[in-house]
């Protein structure tokens, strides 16, 4: 049974300051599942999320979210669509001048006309879901990195979105915080039926929770499938990435000129 796609990318081409970042990316992200997008650092995984969120526009190609063509949306429609999206930024991106409680309440206050006691209930429920109901009066500067991400997660689910995008949720977390995040991502997906997109280069954690994964390198999707399918993938490049081998199809050396001429060894004239 093939689940219907919530996000569809077709031949997306995107370049920035003269460098081509995506060269024809085609990808379907199924509804209600966790999809991991993996790839080496610098392959534009975060850029992909920004394209889906409409913060950047592709040079060509189609990006559909919930049946809407994102790059062609009018500003107002785009903002309306974004109310259905949550995004967890790598840094958490909490508003530093607001307390934990006010941070989570922010989207509710802006987008709904709910009375204060209802907002309070929702905020406390969302904080309870990430285990931080007791931290509601703290300021963001008083939180540890893992807690910051959990508060940010509570904020991004405050409006009960249909889609949530995680940008490198595991980077720089200690093993316990990482375990908590893995559990939260899985629980949120199953209890709320969210479509989750996870961008990461932490292979074991991502493969342990995702239903579906794809690997991006050199501006293209080089492998996709379920975690089991990926582990059996014939491509050497996919295997190199999954197993973390230092040299292979992705070279250890940054492209450079002839070594002999750089070091001034005889015979190095080009």
């Amino acid at each position: 049974m093939e689940p219907s796609a919530y996000i569809t990318l077709k031949n997306v081409v995107f370049s920035r300051s003269g460098r081509r970042i995506f060269d024809g990316v085609t990808l379907d992200i199924p509804k209600g599942k966790i999809t991991a997008i993996m790839g080496p650092s610098g392959t534009g995984k975060t850029t992909l999320l920004r394209l889906i969120g409409g913060q950047l526009r592709p040079d060509s190609g189609q990006i559909q979210v919930a049946g809407l063509e994102v790059p062609k949306l009018k500003r107002r429609d785009l903002y309306r669509l974004r109310e259905k999206m949550g995004m967890l930024f790598q840094s958490g991106a909490l508003f530093t001048d607001l307390s934990v409680y006010e941070n989570v309440a922010f989207p509710l206050r802006v987008h709904t006309a709910l009375p204060e006691d209802m907002i309070r209930d929702i905020v406390l429920m969302k904080l309870e879901a990430v285990g931080l109901r007791g931290a509601r009066d703290l300021m963001p500067s008083e939180l540890s990195g893992g807690m910051t991400r959990r508060v940010a997660l509570a904020r991004s689910i405050a409006l009960d979105p249909e889609l949530i995008m995680y940008d490198e949720p595991f980077t720089g977390q200690d093993p316990i915080a990482m375990g908590v995040l893995v559990k939260l991502i899985r629980d949120l997906n199953s209890s709320m039926g969210l479509t989750s997109v996870l961008v990461s280069h932490d292979v074991p954690e991502s493969l342990s929770i995702c239903h579906y994964a794809c690997i991006i390198a050199d501006g293209k999707v080089i492998g996709e499938g379920t975690p089991e399918q990926l582990r059996e993938h014939p491509s050497e490049q996919v295997q190199q990435f999954l197993n973390g081998e230092p040299d292979g199809p992705v070279p250890f050396h940054y492209p450079s000129g002839d070594a002999a001429s750089d070091f001034g060894v005889a015979g190095g004239t080009v």
Partner: protein, 260 residues
Amino acid sequence: MMNQIAALGRIGIETVASFGRASQFLAGVVFGVPRPSVGFPLLIRQLYAVGVLSLAIVVVSGLFIGMVLGLQGYTILSDFGSEAAIGQMIALTLVRELAPVVTALLFAGRAGSALTAEIGLMKATEQLSSMEMMGVDPLRRVIAPRLWAGFLAMPVLAMIFSVVGVLGGMLVGVEWLGVFEGSYWGNMQASVDFVDDVVNGIIKSVVFGFVCAWIAVYQGYDCVPTSAGISSATTKTVVYSSLAVLGLDFVLTAVMFGNF
């Protein structure tokens, strides 16, 4: 030679593109006014940060500049035996020139740099991005209240500067150096015209307020989101604001008081 021409062209294109971005940005901010129920509290908060907190530096500077004008004016005017004209000299200097210009320069240093750094840091920590992804337009929510606050606060600060400066001049001229108090106020009243002097001074500070606030928020919004980028944007805010204020002051003075 060709390279130099090409470099010159590139600088030209970059300058024009940067002006274009700044104008687009301005249009987005000015026409994207949030609902009053949301926008008004945000504006009040920024008026406090930008205006009320700048009050101390403006009052102290105004007092000292008024006192210095009193001293200098007295020394020069007493050579001609006309130290009684000190009141009108101080008032005209302040209202026409010094209050709008010095307040704008202080404002750029005190409030403009803070605005740039704040917005730049919000950009670097992805707060602006996350706001966008929550379906909230940062131009309306973050930038617009700050721009309007700067625009509204500057004329008020400049007027306070003038008032304090006149009192400072009196302190030195009348209380200390012994100019007759009646001639200090009387000459001032006779020579300062409301429309020609006071209103023109206010127009100047309105223009300066707008330019300084625009430069400050734009530099913050457009900065490279790194620590080096924020520091260079803050510097640019102060330098560009000061140059713009002094240059515009000449133009405005020529138009207002040039008599041609």
